[in-house]
């Protein structure tokens, strides 16, 4: 396993973790832009733009983009979050050159107006699809409730109204501002030769232009509000809770991840034993999400409407108990074992390594081997968790409840 790094003259950073025993190679562009970078009248533009990149370039129309990936068996996709847009492809090493030719090409899209109008309909369908999913509705509403006016509360997809009103010129401006080479990291993982990768990067990306892009990343504290949304058609009640957590810039993120595993992993955690095992809920989890200068603990609950209030009380009790008494050595060891094995399993695929490599580099300018990352987890102590719980209390939290009943309120 070897690590390499260089910066092209236009500011594009290129990194690679190469592993000769891999069967595939993964390549990805990490663009530092997402819904938190959008003004209100641009809601959803980052995600819409991600779709539009696949709709064509000066060299390819949308059908050719798809065909040129597929003809060499390249698995490609993209995803947009609150703060990043990530484009990736995984292929056999002998097909990296043609695969990368398409991936780099689409990062300089044409953004044609007729494609824009056709794709608008697809985006609206995607929004409607998520509206049929109670957890997505609750999750979006909970972020908005928690972050208030802070842009981390923006919806990634936007709304039917904001997308309908969006004009292609605004998207082109947004692209010009956010897709400058200095705002992008290019990462590779898996089997490859560094010199060849640099050559590919220079050949396809050295001509990219654009000035520096900035992000306003103000720290934020959650509002702690409570909201109940009625959805008569649902059978289950869905609740998302949010509380503040360490931002990605701090080393506390390891402790935060372990705490979430102990309390709210999908199996064997405190929430599991209190809610799932006795059949009081069919979903009860806690997860840690880090952002640029912010962080959150998300609590997810799915249960029968009539049991919601009691379950919220049980969750409050679990969080208060751990805030007062911490966790046990056994719980911490168990969480470390889980995290270690899962990290190893995920990292066996180049694609599993790529995301972690790219985001580490984008936000910390750091390369961490898998071993170093595991080592950081193993160093976490009971004292670290006590301090974490003091600095970042899990309770009270912002709560949004979605489902047939609105007879739900904040537990005492």
């Amino acid at each position: 396993m070897t690590f390499h790094h260089t910066t092209l003259e236009n500011g594009l950073e290129v990194i690679a973790e190469l592993n000769n025993r891999a069967y595939s190679v993964a390549a990805g562009f990490f663009v530092k832009t997402g819904s938190r970078d959008e003004m209100a009248d641009l809601a959803g533009v980052s995600h819409f733009l991600e779709h539009m990149t696949f709709k064509g370039t000066p060299r390819r129309d949308a059908l050719t983009v798809n065909r040129d990936f597929d003809r060499v068996g390249a698995k490609h996709n993209a995803q947009t979050s609150e703060e990043d847009t990530f484009y990736h492809v995984t292929c056999l090493p002998e097909y990296l050159t043609p695969s990368f030719d398409v991936l780099a090409d689409i990062l300089r899209p044409t953004l044609r107006e007729d494609d824009f109008e056709t794709e608008k309909k697809v985006i609206i369908e995607e929004i409607r699809m998520y509206l049929d999913n109670p957890m997505s509705v609750a999750y979006e509403a909970a972020k908005t409730a928690h972050f208030g006016p802070h842009p981390l509360g923006n919806s990634i997809l936007g709304s039917v109204d904001s997308i309908t009103a969006l004009r292609v010129e605004r998207m082109r401006d947004y692209f010009a501002q956010r897709y400058s080479p200095a705002n992008i990291v290019l990462g590779f993982a898996g089997k490859g030769e560094w010199s060849q990768l640099v050559e590919l990067a220079v050949q396809h990306c050295a001509g990219w232009q654009g000035g520096p892009a900035t992000r306003q990343a103000d720290p934020v504290r959650g509002t702690g509000t409570f909201r109940a949304i009625r959805r008569e058609e649902d059978l289950q009640q869905t609740v998302v809770g949010v509380s503040d957590a360490p931002p990605l810039e701090t080393e506390d993120r390891y402790a935060a991840h372990l705490l979430a595993t102990i309390l709210g992993d999908h199996t064997g955690s405190r929430l599991y034993w209190a809610l799932i095992d006795p059949g009081l809920a069919d979903g009860a989890e806690l997860s840690y999400q880090d952002y640029n200068q912010a962080g959150t603990f998300f609590t997810f609950l799915s249960c029968e409407p009539g049991e919601t209030q009691a379950n919220l009380g049980r969750i409050a009790e679990i969080y208060r108990t751990v805030m007062a008494g911490g966790v046990t050595e056994d719980e911490l060891d168990q969480a470390k074992n889980k995290v270690l094995a899962r990290s190893v399993l995920r990292s066996e695929r180049p694609m599993g390594r790529l995301a972690s490599l790219g985001f580490q580099w984008m936000y910390r300018r750091a390369y961490l081997t898998l071993e170093a990352e595991l080592e950081a987890f193993s160093r976490v102590t009971l004292d670290d968790l006590r301090r974490l719980l003091r600095d970042w209390p899990l309770w009270p939290m912002t709560i949004v409840s979605v489902g047939p009943t609105t007879d739900v309120h904040r537990p005492k």
């Binding site: 069967y23 003809r71 889980k338 066996e348």
Partner: protein, 427 residues
């Protein structure tokens, strides 16, 4: 794209005297090991002759057996798996109950020891029945809130003859009525080593693994295979009324099984229709017309029957056009066949997936168990590659010619309004 040079593969197999089959693959370059245990104890057996337990028994039992086994109670058992870093899942499907797990190679045998307890010595305590029931009922309710998943379960139920399309989550009536004794009866009748397959892949030591599995599962007593009687499925055209934002559209068409000599032709035709982003459905429905976000065709097989499933979800005002375009594409494939370039693309995609699967012990362990279930052997990668190379545009087109008869197509929609369906008599 040659696949044999790039991937050195060692596959071993052993059948124990009780009928359990172990299939192992040593994967160089991975630290992990994964296993998939397929037990012929899926939801279809709920209606085996002489058994007849309520719908959902297979799912309830799969949950029940993990709640304490051997010397460990429920909590000790999960804790032991956590301490070994085992990611695991236990689920009943239509034909099988599948127990699968992945962990570091050095923890494989200790993990298997725990799973041997789960299979051979589950406590099946009566006090766990109510919590298991409550959990399974809630899962059913959440399924009702998930229209995209719901429609596929309901499509299978209509397309395949009963019990081969039986939904494993069961029914509210079934789960509500199952007693501890009925669950025990189901467990005793259908959990058996004859017909069970254990696929293991990753960082494994074959001789040691073979001995360990013999020691751990050797006492598992064979039982007679329960008999399943087949009844017609249907209806072929149906709509489920639901106040959702989108209408879910699902179609199924019979195709060749994995066992059939036509298998590769069928796989190719389905992939070319809707297996990737340059395939026909994505191109015609989404890229050209912007009718929906999600649209695909997929292949799934049992031993005696297989189907091509097509799916799309879209708004009420565009649902009819979406359905019409999907059907037109199925018929165009049947009438006009495929282009040489489409075959090349399909081949490249399938071969890449096969080679990339060598990086994942989890996906290999399930492929080993699945191959053995269908064929009684594991297909070497070069065999698959050779079969794919032997396909021609003509051979795939000839196969797809069977897609033109509307009577073979099952169509189900779910949403606020029904759509116009093509008549079953139409060709």
């Amino acid at each position: 794209m040659p696949v044999s040079d790039s991937v050195p593969v060692t596959i071993e197999q052993h059948e124990y005297s009780n009928g359990l089959v172990l299939v192992g693959e040593v994967m160089p370059g991975v630290q992990s090991a994964a296993f998939t245990l397929l037990i012929p104890a899926g939801a279809a057996y709920e209606v085996a002759d002489g058994l007849k337990v309520g719908g959902g028994a297979a799912t309830m039992v799969a949950e029940w057996i993990t709640r304490g086994a051997g010397s460990r109670d429920s909590r000790e058992l999960l804790t032991a798996l956590d301490n070994l870093g085992v990611s695991h899942s236990e689920s009943a499907q239509t034909l099988h109950t599948s127990l699968s797990a992945a962990t570091l190679g050095r923890n494989l045998v200790p993990a298997l020891e725990i799973f041997a307890d789960i299979v051979l010595q589950p406590h099946c305590d009566d006090e766990e029945v109510e919590p298991v029931r409550a959990l399974c009922l809630q899962n059913l309710r959440s399924l009702e809130d998930d229209p995209g998943t719901k429609v596929i379960y309901e499509l299978r139920r209509r397309h395949f003859p009963e019990p081969w399309g039986r939904p494993s989550p069961g029914t509210v009536e079934g789960i509500s009525g199952l007693t501890g004794d009925a669950l025990r009866q189901f467990h005793q009748a259908v959990y058996r080593p004859n017909g069970a397959i254990l696929g293991v892949a990753g960082a494994i030591d074959w001789p040691r693994l073979k001995d360990a599995v013999g020691r751990l599962f050797g006492d598992w007593k064979p039982r007679p295979d329960p008999h399943l009687s087949e009844k017609p499925g249907g209806p072929r055209r149906d709509h489920i009324l639901r106040e959702t934002q989108q209408i879910q559209i699902a179609l199924a068409h019979p195709v060749a099984t994995v066992v059939s000599p036509d298998y590769y032709r069928a796989r190719a035709a389905v992939a070319i229709l809707g297996g990737y982003s340059s395939a026909r459905l994505f191109t015609e429905v989404r890229e050209k017309r912007g009718l929906c976000y999600s649209v695909y065709a997929s292949y799934e097989s049992q031993r005696a029957r297989a189907a091509m499933l097509c799916y799309a979800g879209t708004s009420t005002d565009r649902a009819q056009q979406t359905l019409d375009v999907i059907i037109a594409e199925i018929r165009r494939l049947g009438r006009e066949g495929i282009e040489p370039g489409e075959l090349e693309t399909m081949r490249a995609g399938l071969k890449s997936s096969l080679i990339m699967a060598q990086e994942s012990s989890m996906s290999r362990s399930s492929a080993l168990a699945s191959d053995w279930y269908f064929l009684g052997r594991v297909r070497p990668l070069e065999e698959i590659s050779t079969e794919l190379d032997a396909l021609t545009p003509r051979s795939v087109s000839d196969y797809a010619a069977g897609f033109v008869h509307m009577r073979d197509l099952t169509i189900l929609t779910l949403g606020p309004t029904a759509l116009r369906f093509p008549a079953e008599s139409k060709v």
